[in-house]
Amino acid sequence: MNNNPIFIIAKKEYTDAIKNVLFLTLLLFLFILVSISLLVTAFNFQSQVAQYNTAIAQLKSMGQIGAILEKPQYFPLQMLRGTIEYLEIIGAIIGIILGYICIAKEKGNNTMLLLLSRPVTKTSFIGGKILGNSLLILSLLGLILIFIISSISGIGHVFFSSIELLKLFLAFLFSYIYLMFFFCLSALLSIFFKNIPNALIVSFAIWLLIVLIIPQIGDTMDPDNQIPGGFFNSMHMTKIQQNEVISKFRTYETFRNALEESSVEKHYERLVFATLGIKDIYNGKSLNVIFKDKWGDFIWISSYYVGSILLAFALFKNKRVLEKMS
């Protein structure tokens, strides 16, 4: 197994990346942001508890012992909203950088031709690159996962239940799929473009479009987002009434929905926010209920992932693309 070219290339990819300054800088940046987001959420919760305790003490001092105030509830998985949002943005950038580096270094050093003149098939070459970077992204997410679990349980003295741990694990598995999509996108563009920096520019343009612009347009077009607290909520409308209103704007809603559906980021966010209960309606719900609702998003991100991998293989095997390299 050790002599299989896929594993030899994968091992080199992994060791190259963990020595790469740009990758390490982005990783450090991501860890700092995750730490800050966890701290801010923890302090926020702490202040809610303090406010609650103060209010209870005041009520008691006023003699209203029997008054009931809703105690702030603690949902550790909801603390990860910031982490997921940073993974959406910085994680995608890391994926793009890794995809670019893995092809650019071979093209730039002219080692691509050397490697392909060895007894290495094109499938092994791309397979090794994907495997090495998959392991790298899994390690990166694993480190963040360990960091989250240890900081929340070690510092906050809050321990995750087994179902919460499973949800956390699944959320990170979806994050792996999401990050790998950006890795494959950038790698396949780097294979395609003769002038490799163009691949990076196009990758970032796509990132900008599907991570920042499309979701923002979709959110802005959502009628419920027009006023703080939600338009329908402020109008005291039931779900049936909401649907009735929306049905009058079918073309508009279809367009808005199609826009959101085209963004892999939106599918990832919907899926992970539901899994972790960050979206309140899914908080505390069983995985069964969540997946009944969100299987479509899972299929979407998986299709993006598998599609980009297949496209990378197909493109690399294309005769014309290899002609450009030689």
Binding site: N3, N110, L113, L114, S117, R118, P119, T121, K319
Partner: protein, 247 residues
């Protein structure tokens, strides 16, 4: 020892890039033990020929054989028989000479990698750079690492694409000595694309001239010099061949 049998053979080999005919019915036979200098102007089709022979490119039509193996149908097996040094390879600057060579050795299926890398570096009188990173290497040093990676799996044929490009006179002399040693001591057949006619005169046993994708001349260097008695140098012979070829 050297065998008198074809080790490289192309039959009606043609390749087109869109509408451009890069190679036009190339029929070429190179025998085991030769040092073959492949000459031609820029864009004549020399690199395309090497890319097809090294299995990097599939020809549009015709066949190419290396050690009797078809370069398309038996490409992986062909790669075990050849070593290749493309033009302008810089290798991995973040790795040491040893790490670079070990990587290519593993990919070539070499068994005892560490011993083999040391053996090759020693053979090329280059063992002192073993633990140095390639980032600080000169062009000449990189070419020597390039030769080391190309011969680490003991190939029968070595393809060199413009190996002297960018080298200073000392670098060219060192490379020439290495090529001749590899041919004499290790019986490696050398296929060399080059522009430097002076090097061809000093290194090659056979020459071929490619003009707009067509082979217009092939013979031993000895016969070539005999055939053109009025020309004082190989350069003049080449110019005459190119002129005739264009006409």
């Amino acid at each position: 020892m050297f065998k008198d049998e074809p080790i490289i053979e192309t039959i009606d080999l043609s390749h087109r890039y869109n509408t451009h005919n890069a190679l036009d019915n190339l029929n070429l036979t190179i025998y085991s033990g030769e040092i073959f200098g492949f000459l031609g102007h820029n864009g004549a089709g020399k690199t395309t020929t090497v890319n097809i022979l090294t299995t990097l490119l599939k020809q549009t039509s015709g066949t190419a054989k290396i050690a009797g193996l078809d370069t398309v149908k038996e490409s992986i097996e062909v790669r075990r028989h050849i070593g290749y040094l493309p033009e302008n390879v810089t290798f991995y600057n973040n790795l040491t000479a040893f790490e670079n060579l070990a990587y290519f050795a593993k990919l070539s299926g070499v068994k005892n990698v560490e011993a083999k890398v040391i053996e090759v570096l020693t053979y090329l009188n280059f063992s002192e750079v073993k633990d140095k990173k390639l980032g600080g290497f000169s062009k000449g040093m990189r070419q020597r690492i390039g030769i080391a990676q190309a011969i680490i799996h003991e190939p029968e044929i070595l393809f060199l694409d413009e190996p002297t490009s960018g080298l200073d006179p000392l670098g060219i002399k060192n490379l020439r000595e290495i090529i001749i040693r590899l041919n004499h001591e290790k019986q490696i057949t050398i296929f060399m694309n080059t522009h430097l006619l002076s090097e061809v005169a000093k290194t090659c046993t056979t020459i071929g001239v490619l003009n707009h994708g067509r082979l217009i001349y092939k013979d031993s260097l000895k016969n070539t010099l005999k055939r053109f008695p009025t020309e004082v140098s190989l350069e003049e012979i080449y110019v005459q061949m190119e002129t005739n070829g264009n006409n």
